[in-house]
Amino acid sequence: MGTSRDIAVIGWAQTPMVRHTELTETQLLMQVITDALTPIGLTRADVDFTCLGSCDYITGQAFSFVSNLDAIGAWPPKRDSHVEMDGAWALYEAWLRLHEGDIDIAVVTGSGRSSTGDPSLIYPMEMDPFFLAPLGADPVTFAALQARAVIAAGIADERSMAEVAVRSRGTGDVDTLLGGDYVRQPLRRHDLPPITDGAAAMVLATGERARQLVARPAYITGFDHRTECHNPSFRALDDSPSTRIAAAAAGLGDAPIEVAELQAAFTHEELLLRHVLGLGQEVIVNASGGALRENPIMATGLIRIGRAADHVFGGGRRALAHATSGPCLQQNLICIVEDGEGQR
């Protein structure tokens, strides 16, 4: 570390997180990219590479990411890419791109207007087209089946899940919540994420530029993502081996972490991920409220990395961020950010 090829998060921003926005996705991105760049003293002209994470299926328009390019000011022509994934994977691509060594500044985004469609009807169509989509197999059903497995393994129970909900949202009472009806047994309303519209943008810089621009860059010191079989029929749902492998590859075990931001849209997912990652009580998990408080699909994972970076910006040493995609935590990404102490 300490070379010009260090890569750091130097800033990020998110739009207001609302149930239903009147802005288009492009307008959300125009606002949030400006909000990410301006405090650092950068403009769009300084950006060498952009990678946008979004989903045409949610937007309801083929090539919707092409209109989103209007938000990056793509003239003169820019180096640009897109992933049909959460912005956390856009960040991964930008991080790889910066490793090539010829450019210094990248912007990544994650954006989604979940309120455009009905998530309970859209997501089943993304499942296995032969065995699952024709049944309307929905994400809450899969989450409930995973929750049952996690409970059976002794990793969670309905009470500890309700406690996660209360802590994440900063509101409610466990006993009252446990009196509610099941949406999908054993999941109640409080175990489910909200539907949220919003976007996030993040600025990356290589070492020297990063240190010129901000006092405390959040260096990305470990980054890995792994995936499992697409069909939950073939997976042990009380485990998340892809998370474990990604965390080991990202160097989770090399030094203690102080905070963890986990993309757990369902309460039991937080408990399973804590278990798999071996996070002790000393680690502060999802102080932001996580995906249970705000869940802007396609940006939720990127925001986890932003929150982890905030910990370093604010004086912390080392933080872990996790992002996920697919039913029952199918694909998992781990990003570790650190301050530069002891490495330069």
Binding site: E22, G60, Q61, L121
Partner: protein, 328 residues
């Protein structure tokens, strides 16, 4: 108040099944369920590869079930239109007899109280089977398969294709600037918005400059000429995909508006035979009659509202070899 426009999109997919899925789906029409051997395991639903290693599996299919055991389940108190049972039911992992992995499917048990891990279930077959996973309408408690409706028998030919129509309804916001452009078009005005920074002009109520990424408002509006020159064109022979209403070849032209740098892309032509479309041809805007229904636009696309196309002016062509390069 922002206007929202609702649209329903259908994605008609025809999926070829390949040898393994074809055998599985064909067997469903015969009221048989197949798994595939994977070492000591029997995978249901069958896979073409080992889910643990990715290694291709030989096509060694084995009949399983038809009855099985519920491994896990969750109750669905309020089914959606996509669900296979239109009253409260359970989604369950069913371990079919002879299989080592569970199949997700619906169990029609009447109430959550009737569900339990370890309970025995059997398929309720549809009378009319087409080679889809929904040929099993659902599973029901007990050991005995049921038949729902008159049995039309197995497929006459192996099932090799599966149709799947994904259908989604969306609600998109229409930016107020887009509505305003349409409203101005009703007054037969072609109005652009000029960016104060780069001085480029945008039509169709885009509401922002994509070069400088700044918002544009009414103070940036300018009226544009109603005449222009065709810079490029395409003649389209329509393919009869769902929703295509054209039946004969038609033109879409790109028009450089006079006294501006604005090119309107992909414009319809009026009273201009396909054979007479040329680069350099002079054209004039044609407006919808007052009261005529127009495309009010919506979503993210550019709508020109009452500007319904372009017809020849009769002026001599413009001879400029660079024109053809202007499509934006």
């Amino acid at each position: 108040m922002t206007r929202f426009v609702e649209s329903t999109i259908t994605f008609p997919y025809r999926r070829s099944l390949g040898p393994m899925l074809s055998a599985f789906m064909t067997a469903l029409t015969e009221r048989r369920i197949l798994g595939i051997r994977c070492g000591e395991a029997v995978l249901v639903p069958p896979m073409e590869w080992d889910p643990a290693t990715g290694a291709a599996l030989p096509l060694d299919l084995v009949e399983v079930g038809p009855a099985g055991t519920v491994q896990s389940w969750t109750w669905v108190p309020a089914p959606t239109e996509q669900h296979p049972v239109q009253r409260p039911f359970a989604f369950a992992f069913v371990l079919l007899d002879g299989a080592t992995t569970p199949l997700l499917h619906a169990v029609d048990a009447g109430s959550a109280a009737a569900m339990a891990d370890g309970m025995r279930v059997a398929p309720r077959w549809r009378g009319e089977r087409v080679g889809r996973i929904t040929d099993i309408a659902c599973f029901v408690p007990g050991e005995q398969p049921e038949l729902d409706g008159d049995d039309t028998g197995p497929a006459a030919q192996p099932v090799e294709i599966m149709d799947y129509n994904a259908r989604i309804t969306y609600r998109n916001p229409v930016p107020p600037s887009a509505d305003r452009a349409v409203e101005l078009s009703r007054q037969q005005r072609l109005v652009g918005m000029r960016c104060p920074q780069c001085e480029r002009t945008y039509v169709g109520g885009r509401g922002y400059c994509p070069i400088d990424s700044i918002e544009l408002g009414e103070e940036h509006e300018i009226d544009l000429a109603h005449t222009g020159t065709i810079t490029n064109f395409v003649i389209i022979t329509p393919v009869q995909y769902p929703g295509q209403t054209e039946t004969e070849p038609f033109a879409r032209v790109f028009v450089l508006i006079d006294d501006s740098d604005v090119v309107l892309a992909y414009q319809p032509t009026i009273e201009l035979p396909v054979a007479d479309v040329r680069v350099g041809r002079r054209v004039a805007a044609v407006w919808a009659s007052p009261g005529e229904e127009i495309d009010a636009g919506g979503g993210m696309g550019v709508s020109l509202g009452a500007l319904i196309g372009w017809m020849p002016t009769g002026e001599p062509d413009i001879a400029d070899p660079d024109l053809v390069n202007r499509i934006f």
